[in-house]
Each structure stands twice: as C-alpha cells, then as structure tokens.
Amino acid sequence: MITAEQKPMQEIINCIAPYDRILLVGCNECVTVCSAGGRKEVGLLASALQLHFLKQGKTLDIKEVTLERQCDPEYVEELVNYMDQVDAVVSMACGCGVQTIAARYREKAVYPAVNTKFMGASERQGIWAERCQGCGDCVLGLTGGICPIARCSKRLMNGPCGGSTKGKCEISPDVDCAWQLIWDRMKALGIEKRYEEVMEAKDWRTSRDGGPRKIVREDLAS
C-alpha cells in the first residue's frame, strides 16, 4: 500500500488560516490502513483544528467527508455538492488523492494534510516499511523476493557493499542490509550459485527517470 504520515499541526494550521470554511476529505483506502487519513483521523484532525481556532476566537466551519477512494474521479465527484459551501479543501489522502481533487475542482485550493511516504508493507502493528520503488521492471524473481532497489540504501544491484555489518546497513543499525537478506534467501532456496552472475546496468526508463508514467489498457479504456 501507499503509506503516509500526518503533517505537523502547525503546517496544516498555516495553510488553512486564511479560510473560514474547510472541506476535510479522507480516503478509505491505504491511508485508512496506515491510520493516517481515514474516517477516524479526519474526525480527530477536524476537532483539533476547530479547537485551535476557537482559542483564537474564530469558529472554523469544517465539513468532514471520507471517500471510498480519493484517487478515483468517480468517487471524487461526490464532493461536487460541498464545493459552493467551502473556501478550501484539505485532503488526508496520498498525493494521488490530492491531485485528483485538484484536477476536478480547479477553482478551489486544495492542501495536503499528510506527507505521502512510500509503497510499503506492515511489519507488525504500527510499523510499516518500504518495499517497492515502482521501478517498472521487477527483479524480485532474481533476488529471492527481496528488492535491492527499495531496500538497499545505495540500491546496489550487485551488493552487499563493504559497509554491511552483522546483517545491518552502514547507514544505521536499525536498517537491515538488503543484500544480507537476499543472500540468506538465496541460501534457503539453494540458489547461491546465482549470486555470482552479474546483474547488468539497469534500464531506468521504466522507472521515474523515463518521465511521468502512464498505463493505457486499450481493452478497458473507454
């Protein structure tokens, strides 16, 4: 999923200070799962903002809506009836949701209330970790199911580097060495020999380096 974390309160306050009427929009997908911008967080943020402005003698009118999926124009359309009642929109979805709202409601300012972080997985309750960088040409089949691009600090394709110590990365003892993990998996799978095959220079065109990407499915496009 896409993970996110709420922005510092002061940053959100600074964005909406000029406005009296706010539409606060959550999303029922990834940001709900990582407890950053679902219905619950929308309610908490709305209360906190109202309290803050009340202390300053201003009654902030906040409308709370949590869409099924904020990155989908079909659901974003549901906001149409609110737009003449608000001065600005604050989105608690990932950057994809924010931009879908901005594209549909061009006359309304939209502010992000979260920082979109990474594509990751849940390690355990309350902890998410990066797993994929969306390079567009998956190598997991060659690396024992562990991604060197997302999980090696230097995205080395032929690691580990000389900084790997006791299974940890040189940048921090809190970061696993991806190549130690890959090596352990290769051994478990009995494919250690494959390690010595050089992984050639990657073609980054399929990644962000090739420019903004798009998927067009002719069979589905209307």
Binding site: S153, K154, M157, P160
Partner: protein
C-alpha cells in the same frame, strides 16, 4: 598489455606493487595536492586520488589526478557511483584519459548520510560492479555503455575495492569473483588488521584460482594513536581491528604510539608478503602521507622497480 598503466607493467613484470593515496583538499588548493603527491614520489607505483571520500565535497578526483599526472607521477582515478550517473561517469573517464590518466578504481562510495551533504540525492545509476563492466566495455570494445562507438576509446587499467572483513564473510570471496567476472584487473582491499582472517580469505581466493585472474593489493593503514585504533574498531563500518592491536597501541605512552602504529603496519606487511596470491600493497596513510616512504622502505619494498 591492455593499457599504458605503470601499475599494470609492474604487476606484469612480477614485482610486488605498491600504491598509496591522497585525499584532495576541501578548496581550490592545487599546491596542497602537489605537496601530498610529492611526498610519495619514488616510493609508490600509483597514487589513488579519492572521490569525495566519506561523502564530503572535495576538489574533484579528476582535477587532482591531472595535477598529479602533470608532476610526472601516476595517479589512480577513484570514481564512486554515488554522485554521477552513467553519462557523467563516462565523460569524466574520457576527460581523465585525455590527460593521460590510465588507471582507475571503481567504487560505490559511502552513503551521503556520512558526509557534509546528508540532504543530497544519491544517484547510484550504476553500482561498482556495473561501473567495472562499463569501463571494460569502453576499453575492450571501444563502446559506450549505451552501445555507441567511442572515438579513441579510453584504455583504463581497472581496479576495484574488496572488503574481506564485511559481512557476510562467506559471501566475500564470491563477491570478489563477481568483480572478476565483470572484468576487474586489480583489487585494493580494506585496511587489514585481522591477519588471521585475511589469511583465511586469501586461502579461499587461491582455492578458487581467483588470484590468477586479478592482482590483489593488501590494504595497510598505519595508526597514529590508540584513540584512532579504538575509533576504527568501534565506529567504522566493515572494519575489523582485533583487541590485541588496540591493546598494543594503548600499551605505549602517547609519544611512542605513532611509532608503534608504523611498526604494526610493517610487521603486517612482512607477514602478508608471504601469503600466496598477494601481489602488492595499498597504503592508506590518512593525512599521514609523509610516513609512506618510511613504511615502504621498512617493508623492504624500496627502491621501486623501473618499468
């Protein structure tokens, strides 16, 4: 011969090679480069010039190499893949070769986290193994990594680093094999303090016949103080400094610690010289270049052969 490299000639003639290194200054100070390189004249076969080492901005390795080349010495261009993509790496290789630089070292480089620009983007378009492949393709096929022909292709003698002491140990010889598969000509190892472990590593290297495909230069660093020994033991990732080395340094009064450090280095070289498969030494006397001639001499490696 693949190149005009002095290091290649020394190795081909069967001599024990000696290289050392200079870190370029953090400013436009050509005299500093000359001063450091001059200290190494006549006692080494090549001078590594580091490339923004520890991710701190310094004079470019290429520029400092040119200065050293123009002094009639033999620079070894270090190149990390952290700061430049494959376009910039290849253009710098051509540029360096245009000034007669013919020996280089392919590295991934320290993560920006360690340096004075931790906010920098880290590039890693290629890794060190892919850089070796790229330089080899430029030299042997006369082609850029992207496939186009190069006019007057650079002929570089290709080096890389190896750390016999990083984890997982069982992978270290396989990683060397990978660099050999990619086409590396010589290896400079991480500083060796744990001689028993290095001996075990070299035995595995020789068992696989890798020593016949690549020239291994053993990394040596003389320690100035007991504090430096403790720092390297505890703070530098992938460094293996045994307790007895730290104790030996601590056992000396402050004013005698530097001499003890040199003694430890020379003793290590005497023992490593006898290890099968070792073809020379790479002496990393960090900000202590003036000690290199003495160390080389005491290790019995002076004068350097003419080739």
């Amino acid at each position: 011969m693949k190149t005009e490299s002095r290091l290649e000639k020394i190795l081909a003639a069967g001599h024990m090679a000696v290289t050392s290194e200079c870190g370029p200054p953090r400013g436009a100070l050509p005299e500093k480069v000359k001063e450091k390189a001059e200290m190494l004249r006549g006692c080494v076969d090549g001078i590594n010039v580091t490339d923004n080492q520890t991710a701190m901005v310094r004079m470019s390795s290429t520029a400092a190499c040119i200065i050293i080349k123009q002094m009639g010495l033999d620079p070894i261009l270090q190149m990390v893949t952290r700061d430049r993509n494959r376009l910039a790496l290849q253009s710098d290789i051509i540029g360096a070769y245009a000034f007669g630089i013919n020996t280089m070292l392919c590295l991934s480089g320290d993560h920006p986290r360690f340096g004075d620009h931790p906010m920098a983007a880290n590039v890693y378009d290629l890794d060190s193994v892919q850089l070796i492949q790229t330089v080899k393709k430029m030299r042997d096929e006369g082609k850029f990594q992207g496939g186009a022909d190069i006019a007057n292709a650079p002929k570089m003698f290709i080096g890389a680093a190896a750390n016999p002491f990083a984890d997982p140990f069982e992978l270290r010889v396989m990683r060397l094999a990978k660099k050999v598969n990619a086409g590396v000509d010589f290896i400079q190892t991480q500083c060796i303090f744990n001689l028993d472990k290095f001996e075990l590593y070299m035995k595995q290297v020789c068992d696989r016949g890798l020593h016949e495909k690549v020239a291994i230069l053993a990394g040596i660093t003389p320690m100035k103080t007991a504090g430096a020994a403790r720092y390297m033991k505890n703070k530098v990732p992938g460094m293996d400094v045994p307790d007895e080395i730290v104790k030996r340094m601590e056992g000396q009064p402050k004013e005698k610690q530097a001499e003890e450090g040199v003694k430890i280095a020379v003793e290590a070289m005497q023992r490593i010289k006898e290890m099968p498969g070792v073809r020379g030494f790479h002496i990393m006397a960090i900000e202590w270049e003036q000690k290199v001639p003495e160390i080389v001499e005491r290790a019995g490696l002076l004068p350097r052969p003419e080739v």
